[in-house]
């Protein structure tokens, strides 16, 4: 259905020029993109590939050099679309002399939210981003991660239908990242449409339904994450821990079917998973987890020490 297209760009091109009109950078060339209601679309690309430029064009912060950008079927320079959009910029561009509450209150007023709704939402959002303890402190005292959180709260003050996030996880610690990703999935569950830009592959892989890969301003690849990432000539099996003598037999079985075992052994957990686990445990068991004495005596690496304890 046509109304389900939330964002559409046609041949969208942006060339940055200097004051005298001389061409500097072609940041985006002929982007054709459609984002549908309820999906999480990830725009992936290395630094300087034109992701931020795309979001700015969609928000009307930049005028396209050619082509057009439509949001909710309206041109991007139409201010009224902002009623239904939340924007989390690369960095939080907020007034440093306001505190968290005042910040959210200010942006809430710009949406003309009724007073009681606004108050309630300010409270809920501060709670949600976990800044209740610092809500009366001016933003200039905030750390990068805290600023990021208040920036996120700010983007959600109007309960938007479409959320545009530029590098949502930069500046966040792994827990923050995890929470951010959980939040994004949660927003999806509420039926929101999300466009997120990132150069962190893991972020995109974890949450996005569809992705587009930008490189030097050009869209190189687009599709469903599951389709794009499915490796067709490999089969992956995971089992509970087996005794060593199982290996030879399994290899034999695989060879009988004409296959070839590429790797065999315990999978290594990602550092992210480990970190989350450590912190989670820290919450339930306060105190030192890692024993300094073990480090002093053994030449084993710290992580092996941890593994041992788990075992």
């Amino acid at each position: 259905m046509e109304t389900d297209v939330i964002i559409e760009t046609r041949n969208l091109t942006k060339t940055y020029r200097d004051f005298w009109g001389r061409q500097k950078v072609r940041a985006l060339s002929a982007l054709d993109l459609k984002i549908y209601r309820g999906e999480i679309f990830g725009l992936l690309g290395p630094n300087g590939s034109g992701k931020t430029t795309t979001t700015k064009l969609l928000l009307g912060l930049l005028f396209p050099s050619s082509g057009e950008a439509l949001v909710f079927n309206n041109p991007a320079d139409d201010v009224s679309k902002n009623e239904r959009i939340g924007y989390l910029p690369e960095e939080s561009y907020l007034y440093k002399f306001l505190n968290a509450e005042e910040t959210l209150d200010f942006y809430g007023r710009l949406f003309r939210l009724p007073t009681n709704v606004r108050r309630q939402r300010v409270r809920d959002l501060i709670e949600m981003v976990g800044l209740g303890w610092a809500k009366r402190r001016q933003l200039k005292e905030y750390s990068k991660g805290m600023t990021r959180r208040i920036g996120l709260a700010q983007a959600l003050i109007n309960d938007p239908e479409l959320i545009i996030m530029d590098e949502p996880t930069t500046g966040l610690d792994p827990i923050g990242c995890r929470e951010m990703k959980d939040l994004i999935l949660d927003l999806k569950r509420q039926g929101k449409t999300i466009l997120m830009c990132s150069h962190l592959l893991a972020d995109v892989q974890d949450v996005c339904d569809r992705i587009g890969i930008l490189y030097q301003g050009e869209l190189k690849e687009m599709g469903r994450v599951s389709d794009l990432l499915q490796v067709r000539d490999v089969t992956d099996i995971q089992t509970t821990k087996l005794p060593p003598e199982a290996e030879a037999e399994i290899r034999r079985v695989v060879e009988r079917f004409g296959g070839q075992v590429k790797s065999y052994g315990a999978p290594s957990a990602s550092l992210e998973e480990l970190f989350l686990k450590v912190v989670e445990e820290g919450k339930t068991h306060p105190g030192k987890r890692y024993q300094a004495s073990e480090q002093a005596t053994g030449d084993s690496k710290p992580f092996e020490a941890n593994q041992k304890k788990e075992g």
Binding site: G60, L61, Y107
Partner: protein, 636 residues
């Protein structure tokens, strides 16, 4: 400074002003659109930029319809908080205290302390608030761009117009609060600085004889405080039963004190009040001045006594020459006690005469319909001393009344009379006592006041505002507030210019631009003269050429191509100057502290014109700021 007395009435002022205003709105819109078109055009080609400009025009109306006070107010409060949290104000508060401290060194024993203190206070407040307004208004929007907070702001449903208006409103509120505080402090400062009283004891007074047979009066001087003392005169009538009576001291340094007499005989004591009559807000009625020359003809100008730039025009003594003021709309109901006339004449002596004594003058009232003229007062005049006379309701003439007409010689040599000679009825003069309003003021309230110099070889000089009828006194505090309202209007205009210019330019450039416009506004008349080629020495390039060649001002330009190029370029430059002059308000009309300082009420008429002028500049500038902001590519 000379107080302006002739303002256009509101209705006279309105039509040309409204026209100028519409042109101004048009010009500001066009400039904004042209700038927007040029800047975007350079970046992305004329076609694209034309589309953007067209879109902006199309959107302007829907934006206007969607203006939300709630959002404007949110931005305003943000601006307010910003100014406070950034602690800009602390600096200013310190500055005020320092300046008020400097004010301690003003000399309270000066001839006219009221003027001294009020001028000082208004100057300080004006400078401070205008600087504050200039700086806070010019930094806000550029900072939004610099720190990219505009990205967050512009992706909310707030219109460019609301940002500009909210900023203006916020800074205006903040500066107003500041101005109110400063105003209250200043008022207190002025009143307190001049406050004093004197002592008067029986020993200070001695008996003197009076013209009345056998009656004695008391005369003396008060104690000296702030380097001055007042003469005191207790008349025989008062002395008959002095207890509980009040009298005023003679004025010194522009004020008097009230003396209350308490007790009888040896216990009699004199209690002096604080300063009285120092701060006034006289509401004058001005007349039209003409001169009568020694040959009995009316002229527009009197004699020049030497100074080419003399503001006053003079009449010769002991001759038919007179200074004549025609007043209109003088109604008996407004003057139940007669006409209080105040005048400050220039006195020019060709010989010293009796230097102890002033030059003698006569004041007469003439009915412009019947020609009846009755002299009411003979007075001594000292240069620039303000003389107060009350023309009573029942007049006993000081000299023989006359019935005369006033005549003018036209340029073609014909003579016209205001009353034909044959219509003059000498019977009007045959009375011993005249009624001011029945005999001397016409039914529609016209009356003439004639001033003559009676001493031979001496001269009186006057300009129109030098003689006026003091209609009544307005409360001084109100006048003080009115003076501050004028400062407020200036401040408001600066905020408007600062915010709108900074919606397009960087902060330092916006500040320079605002200063430039304000200076243009101060030299408004000169700029318009320059634009119309009325200045001496020709246009900009022409005078530059002469300067370089060290020619004098009246040397002709060379009669060749160079001369033509210079005069043609000057024409273009004049157009541009004229245009810039048009975009700046005449700032002099807001500088009204002189009224307060010299004890005159600021006319409401002037206040209204000032307020309308500020509003008239605000609207086109606001549209300008809105368009600039709208056409600006935010993230570029």
């Amino acid at each position: 400074m000379v107080l302006e007395t002739q303002f256009p009435s509101l209705t006279e002022w309105f039509k040309p002003a409204a026209l100028a205003w519409i042109i101004r709105i048009g010009s500001f819109c066009l400039i904004a659109l042209a700038l927007g078109f040029l800047i975007t055009g350079v970046r992305m080609g004329p076609k694209r930029s034309w589309a953007i400009v067209k879109g902006a025009i199309k959107n302007a109306f829907s934006d206007l319809a969607h203006l939300s006070f709630k959002r404007i107010f949110a931005v305003a409060m943000l601006s307010f908080k910003e100014a406070i949290r950034r602690k800009i104000l602390i600096g200013f508060v310190v500055f005020i205290i320092v300046l008020l401290f400097a004010g301690m060194f003003l000399d309270p024993s000066s001839q006219d302390p009221a003027r001294l203190y009020i001028n000082f206070i208004f100057w300080v407040n004006n400078v401070l608030i205008l600087l504050l307004a200039l700086f806070i208004s010019s930094f806000s929007i550029p900072n939004d761009f610099k720190y990219k907070t505009i990205y967050t702001l512009a992706t909310k449903p707030v219109r460019s117009g609301e940002i500009v208006l909210g900023r203006i409103l916020g800074f205006t509120l903040m500066c107003s609060a500041m101005l109110i505080v400063m105003g209250v402090l200043s008022y207190g400062f002025v009143i307190r600085s001049v406050a004093h009283t004197h002592k008067l004891t029986s020993d200070d007074l001695r008996y003197v004889a009076t013209t009345q047979e056998g009656a004695q009066a008391l005369e003396g001087k008060t104690s000296t405080v702030k380097e001055h003392k007042h003469s005191v005169y207790l008349s025989p009538e008062i002395l008959k039963d002095p207890a509980g009576k009040t009298v005023m001291t003679e004025p010194t340094n522009g004020h008097t004190h009230q003396i209350t007499i308490v007790g009888q005989g040896k216990d009699r004591q004199y209690k002096l009040s604080g300063v009285k009559n120092m701060f006034t807000a006289r509401v004058p009625i001005y007349g039209n001045l003409r001169f009568r020359d020694t040959t009995n003809f009316d002229t527009n100008k009197g004699i020049n006594v030497g100074d080419e730039w003399e503001y006053r025009s003079f009449i010769q003594g002991n001759s038919p020459a007179a200074l004549i003021w025609l007043f209109k709309n003088i109604k008996q109901s407004s003057f139940p006690n007669g006409l209080p006339v105040e005048m400050t004449l220039g006195v020019f002596r060709t010989h010293k005469g009796n230097i102890e004594r002033g030059v003698m003058g006569g004041l007469a009232i003439r009915n412009p319909d019947t020609g009846l003229m009755v002299e009411t007062h003979l007075f001594e005049s000292v240069e620039f001393n303000t003389k107060r006379l009350l023309v009573p309701l029942k007049i006993k003439p000081a000299s023989r009344p006359q019935v005369i007409s006033s005549k003018t010689k036209l340029s073609n040599g014909n003579v016209v009379h205001d009353i034909p000679e044959n219509k003059l009825n000498q019977a009007y003069a045959q009375k011993a006592e005249f009624d001011l309003f029945k005999d001397l003021v016409t039914a529609d309230g016209r009356v003439e006041i004639w001033v003559r110099c009676l001493d031979p070889m001496q001269y009186f000089g006057a300009a129109e505002p030098d003689l006026y009828i003091r209609a009544y006194d307005a409360p001084f505090a109100l006048n003080f507030v009115k003076g501050f309202v004028c400062i407020w209007l200036e401040m408001f205009l600066i905020i408007v210019y600062g915010v709108t210019l900074s919606s397009l330019l960087s902060a330092p450039i916006a500040i320079l631009g605002t200063i430039f416009i304000m200076i243009t506004g101060v030299f408004h008349n000169y700029v318009l003269q320059l634009a119309n080629g009325l200045t001496e020495g020709g246009g900009v390039l022409e005078s530059m050429y002469r300067l370089l060649r060290q020619d004098n001002m009246i040397t002709e330009l060379p009669d060749n191509v160079l001369g033509d190029v210079i005069s043609m370029s000057d024409q273009v430059i004049n157009y541009i100057i004229g245009f810039v002059g048009y975009l700046a308000p005449d700032m002099n009309q807001f500088a009204n502290s002189e009224y307060v300082a010299s004890g005159f009420d600021i006319p409401w008429n002037l206040m209204t014109i000032d307020a309308l002028t500020a509003l008239a500049f605000f609207i086109p500038l606001y549209i300008f700021g809105y368009l600039c902001m709208k056409l600006r590519e935010i993230a570029a």
